[in-house]
């Protein structure tokens, strides 16, 4: 596609429910990142995928958070048993690993998650 696509744009859920957030990266970009943007913590790195390598999960805040990337393209971020502190905007970015745009991350519009 032309840009990074994220869905849904907004998600409201009840505390304790599971949610799935989707990211469709720019075609041909091998690197994919998830970040969380919240009022109290600013922008935080969550997880990084590069090709077929094992993901860097060092930013995931708890074991309720997980992510996968199928076929080296679409990624899903799953939050189990959501808590109110999970309320934030979840941003996805993709990046080419070669060429002049190497290491530039292109962002989607994010998913705003509200946990009631």
């Amino acid at each position: 596609g032309a840009g990074v696509s994220q869905s849904p744009s907004n998600k409201v859920t009840e505390k304790g429910k599971d949610v799935e957030l989707r990211c469709d990266p720019i075609s041909g970009h091998t690197a994919l990142y998830w970040y969380r943007q919240s009022l109290g913590q600013g922008l935080e790195f969550l997880i990084y995928f590069q090709g077929n390598s094992a993901p860097d999960k060092s930013g995931l805040p708890s074991d309720r958070f997980s992510a996968e990337r199928t076929g080296g393209s679409v990624s899903t971020l799953t939050i189990q048993r959501t808590q109110q502190e999970d309320s934030a905007v979840y941003l996805c970015a993709s990046s080419p690993q070669t060429g002049g745009a190497k290491n530039i991350q292109y962002f989607g519009a994010g998913t705003r998650l509200s946990v009631l």
Binding site: G42, Y48, A93, N103, I104, Q105, F107, A109, G110
Partner: protein, 114 residues
């Protein structure tokens, strides 16, 4: 480990004037890149400008330019001839080639007065 600090929570500028946003950073990596991103109310982070740390020449992109002081670990953004459409949150970020992730500053809100 990396840290990025933006000391100005908010800056105001008159249309057509110039504004400079401050950013300082710290990184243990020798190969790194610095970025300024713009985030309008639509939420999408838009790349404004990129600077490779190994380059001494300051990056420019139309009305946007940076002052990169490597020894001082300073990376300021200058917006010239400010336009109403420049109003947004601006984030400074550092990318270390080994760490493979962006570390962001807390952001500076830019207000443009007509």
């Amino acid at each position: 480990a990396q840290t990025v600090t933006q000391s100005q929570p908010e800056m105001s500028v008159q249309e057509a004037e110039t504004v400079t946003l401050s950013c300082t950073y710290d990184t243990s990596e020798s190969d790194y890149y610095l970025f300024w991103y713009k985030q309008p109310p639509s939420r999408q982070m838009i790349l404004v400008i990129r600077q490779e740390a190994y380059k001494q020449q300051n990056a420019t992109e139309n009305r946007f330019s940076v002052n990169f002081q490597k020894a001082a670990k300073s990376f300021s953004l200058k917006i010239s001839d400010s336009q109403l459409g420049d109003a947004a949150m601006y984030f400074c970020a550092c990318f270390g080639a080994a760490g493979n992730k962006l570390t962001f500053g807390g952001g500076t809100r830019v207000l443009v007065k007509p």
